[in-house]
Symmetry: D3
Subunit: 283 residues, 6 copies
């Protein structure tokens, strides 16, 4: 069965990135955006690395949950405008071909972020400081979001004169109330952690970055202690439900569980309940 992409934990840990770091500890991977002097602004290199690291993590059975965080004062200030504006000076041999290439480029950028969503284990965003523009697109691909009090959010794309095109307008309406979504997208206004919590964008708030790291770390540890196969199935089902009818979702999980339900985990979990001991699961 060679077609299947699978990676060992060792080779994952050995991989090198320029603008992000990856640490793994006790089944929890922590991906940290690491371009702190630029507020972790998304240049093309970082953009590509995000896709690569999540695609790699997806292939390592040892990882059970991922934390996505940012180094320095801000989570992420959005797209690197210097690079972005290069599309205006790009040579255009033929208008049509230039546009075709532009479309493929946008699809490739989306795809890097979508790797977060496709990653089979839960991804927790831990955000602080600036969470702007492309950073919003990025965290809507995560399963859950937690913030420190100082976090400042903004769907900033409108202020550089563009229609957001890497996920915010597609995913955020499925996360927060429709009316609020539109106000934020049309005005680009900044909002804080408390408002983000009220609207459901973040689940809860910590008083500062260290407290946030602790909160998210504990949550990750908790999730990592659960039966891995059931966690992966749960993520698949929630994603499927978002884009399908209830009836289609029911049929899908019935078919899925006819294959997956009889795992060692379930026996392990049952036994633990009786012996009142913490279950130990395989990856």
């Amino acid at each position: 069965m060679q077609l299947l992409k699978e990676l060992t934990l060792e080779s994952l840990e050995a991989s090198q990135y320029e603008h992000l770091t990856l640490e793994v500890s006790q089944h929890v991977a922590t991906v940290t955006l690491s371009r702190p002097d630029k507020a972790n602004a998304l240049n093309m290199q970082l953009w590509a690395e995000i896709g690569q690291v999540f695609e790699a993590i997806d292939q390592v059975a040892d990882i059970r949950v991922v934390i996505l965080a940012g180094e320095g004062k801000h989570f992420c200030g959005g797209i690197d405008l210097a690079e972005f504006s290069a599309i205006f000076t790009a040579k255009r041999d033929c208008e049509g071909r230039f546009r075709e290439r532009l479309r493929r480029q946008i699809l490739a950028m989306q795809d890097s972020f979508t790797a977060i969503e496709r990653c089979r284990v839960p991804v927790i965003a831990a955000v602080h400081g600036a969470v702007i523009g492309g950073a919003i697109d990025m965290i809507t691909c995560c399963d859950m979001r937690y913030a420190s009090c100082d976090a400042k959010f903004s769907i900033r794309e409108i202020d550089i004169g563009m229609t957001a095109d890497v996920g915010t307008l597609q995913r955020l309406p499925k996360i927060i109330p429709d009316g609020i979504m539109r106000e934020l997208a049309y005005t680009g206004r900044e909002f804080g952690a408390e408002e983000a919590r009220t609207m459901g964008l973040v689940n809860s708030i910590a008083k500062d970055k260290p407290a946030l790291d602790m909160l998210v770390g504990e949550l990750a540890t908790e999730i990592a202690s659960k039966a891995p196969l059931a966690i992966r199935g749960t993520k698949e089902m929630i994603l499927f439900s978002r884009d399908h009818s209830v009836e289609e979702g029911l049929n899908y999980i019935a078919t899925w569980n006819s294959a997956m339900i009889l795992s060692d985990d379930i026996q392990q979990a049952m036994k633990s309940r009786m012996t009142k001991q913490t279950p130990e699961f395989k990856n």
Copy 2:
């Protein structure tokens, strides 16, 4: 027109169930889970009876609204684990056939709960005490949920090492915010009535079980006093909207109302407005 399944109120009231009770009064049916010594845990018998009772109610024009409640200290503690674990010891003649049978079994279990959703009149869940695992799957099929202060909820499936497969992962994401949904599904953590209200899982809270019964009883009486045909049409439309685009929904209601709108109810309702009297509707 014999193909149509229709039932009289009398035959409905005459039906017997082992683990639930059914009472009808003034167009309001109350279905009560009744296995109090087991916290109303869902064994296969109870599971089957839930499907049967709601399928029967659907066929009785006299019923205008249903209350679903639980007897004893808890609404429902979830699946009966003793029965559930039997699938591990089931004889497996052929792996493929065993899995096919498992899939059909899950579909059958889902179908019992879906009977609540398919029932043409509104179903109100009144929950107290433990509302765990399969109980969550069950109440997401109801139209609305109300709780007493002591209610404790948990998507518990993850703790027995399984991916929930009878509706929670399909219906709950369409009821509560996506980020919260995932946190609850991944951690299985318990949450109380107040948090359930904040996230939109329950509409409001009563101070205790008797107060809850009163609250829900009044609501049921209120709904039962409305034009029955319009109530049934409203449920159909809300369900249809959940799984279709707005454009499809608009076309559907236009076609629907071209048939249903000219009822006696509407004339009755109009007349009542003028005479300031309470309208009396046919079933």
Copy 3:
């Protein structure tokens, strides 16, 4: 390119309506329901004019945002029952043909409201006093809703014995939580501005009608100052997302932006950021 419907600002401003007024100022159009002696009740004339005015606005590139408000003590008391009840006395030559005509009539009524949604710029509803029945259908077509403290809402259709058929049951479930939605639709109970805000129906509340006008006016001015093409693209994407999967939405915006992204606006916006001046955009 004559097929394209386009209108000048002048011809728009010259158009006359019987039951509504249209004012344009600084790229902001204000449509005011104007039948104050009848609480702006929706008779067929007003209903038709709503469709006409939004279809016209859609064709005027100069307009960047629309405010929808009501004159007098109430935003809108719903359908004009006198006209509505005429369908009961309508001559019915053939039952089938009468029903076909009824269906086409409902579709036409829906279509007038849908013109608000189809209008390519954001539409802000500013509501006060009574917001009843058909008025709810109407404001769910708007992008965002704001209210004064005195606003009173009700999905009243159930009380005239009918299943709402001009949009509430299709659009409201995509705006507010499902459980609340059903309670309101089944009971028709009145709710105030604060509750409307909590459930996400309105974004924020002003203390009275003048404060509401100011709040909404400032918001409109803000949106009108943004890059128009990006605003129009944002509305298109949010609407598309509501009725499609995330994957379909991502592909759509990639294709869209391969055409639209290289606008003068984006260059204008970038330049403004550097010069710290307010950008001036073309229509």
Copy 4:
């Protein structure tokens, strides 16, 4: 696991029907419409029995393929008009309720036919003589259709002034070319076996009824000799593909086969290839 509906072959064979017969031989069930003096016209009794017999067959693992045929000179002359016209004289207490009941009645009639499609094993229609109106709706639920030379087909509904409502307009466009479909539906014109074959409605033609019975019998025997689990999976996948995108279909079969593929059948089939013997499969 009592929820699952399963039936023994014995109890199936013991069931009695008024207007159809059921024979089982070597895993092949033959359902024969048996109201020959009325050209097997569909009265409500027969209509209901079709649903019942296919629902029962679906629950008997022993049956691997079904033949649907007609006794006497014709396969089926369509709906029994005497019964059908009763809906015109039905008492109508309230227009709205009457229409609601009518809708539920049509859904029930459709459901009887859909039982053929839902039956997990292939159903082969063997048609001769008249195949008119409701008979077309019925055979479009079958997997494949075969005819004798004398077969005469007609989508007759238009000639009794009605829009066909039990399946033809939904399923036939997915079987024959669109342009031909519309011509036949608008004109109700009769067409013969050869034209039916050319358009893809029937797969092949036999010279007379006995030859047809032989042709279809051999085909049934052939299918019954294949691995039953794989045949059932194949039917499920083809049905799913009809109503879903290719991408959804691929994901579904991958999930399905992760459960079903490792059956005894596949080992049996592999072994047979090597030993050049006919494989013997479990039900």
Copy 5:
């Protein structure tokens, strides 16, 4: 009920078009493209008029079927290239706005053709001579197509270097086999009437234009003699089925017929069967 657009036969007949003619006789409308010196090439005026005439016909209950034909030696040679190439010289103030306008222009052109499909009665295309490019887009909106022997077809867009954008690539794959569709679209090769019939693009062939007119005239007369309401319902259902699942289609027709089935037509049709007389239907 003023919102509903309805037109009298008289006002329809009084309308004037520059490049097409409209004749009505015995419930049959014949729309003839009439720019014979240009092979009925589609300039913007003709394009707009096609939309107008079919939108008008849709509103006249007297019309029961439409024939679409071409005057002179050819049915239609496709888009008028002189006008089309104007888009290259169009002034482009802002790239983004120019593209937005282009998109709206294409949508408007599509919409004119879609009026044929939306027209509630069947539309029969009678084609002869050249049927090229845009003409193919146009006839795929018709219900059925008939040709004379001399007809020559070509999906010509590829030869002017463009991706066809007014319907061929969306509708033709739902009419002819997929493999053939792609060959024709990629090569733009010409094909004759006989091949068109074999692939299902046209239903049958007449030896020359007069024979075609007779064939199509008789078919139109036949359809016009059927129950009009049932014909209109049939078209609606076939269109709905094309874009929905079988299950959705079944639910739709059940709801539809609960409104429409009890027409005078059905009683008329039944009576005619007994008296063996030709039924006379209301419009």
Copy 6:
């Protein structure tokens, strides 16, 4: 714009494959399955290479069309059973994990074939000799199929006791008539080139392999001479249409062409028409 995967023709031609060959000439790439001693049976290596080569071709703008053929006496005899049966002896640590891995493996195998469909230029299958099992799955991903007289086809999966899971059951029903599709899938019977042509699986037939190569070569040359951007757009639209409604397809192409239509190709093509010279297009 580094995220975009693009490849030069040189690096494509330099790539090496074990079981297939790749030749490029005049914008036409020919991929030849090359394991002739095994009838080009699909082992995992070949399977993987098919995905790789089509993914690579997709990134080379120079390639305008692809031919997929087989070396030796047969196009492809299907899956390599020796490798396939290894899944039965695979070590299974945990039943659930084994099934999860199996599912991912099937998805990976599907994905290799889907690379043919995702490749942005047309892919022409030229088949001869045996075209069995997995080979059918593979050619249904191609745009068009052509065969020599000696070709023998069979959906063979049923004969190894499995439900086909790499594309046939998802794509073939969208290519050939539904009734025939099912017969072939249930019986696994062999059929020849002529029958394949009649049912629409292949577009036309050549008398032998050399004639087939000539036929397909000429077709490829013809397509390669067309405007490349328009060809790529056409493929995208046909694929989109297969899985979406007509209305969605129309909106998509309008958006697409607002970006792509103004290419050099269209100007080149127009000029060529006037000068009657063969146009020369950029890649």
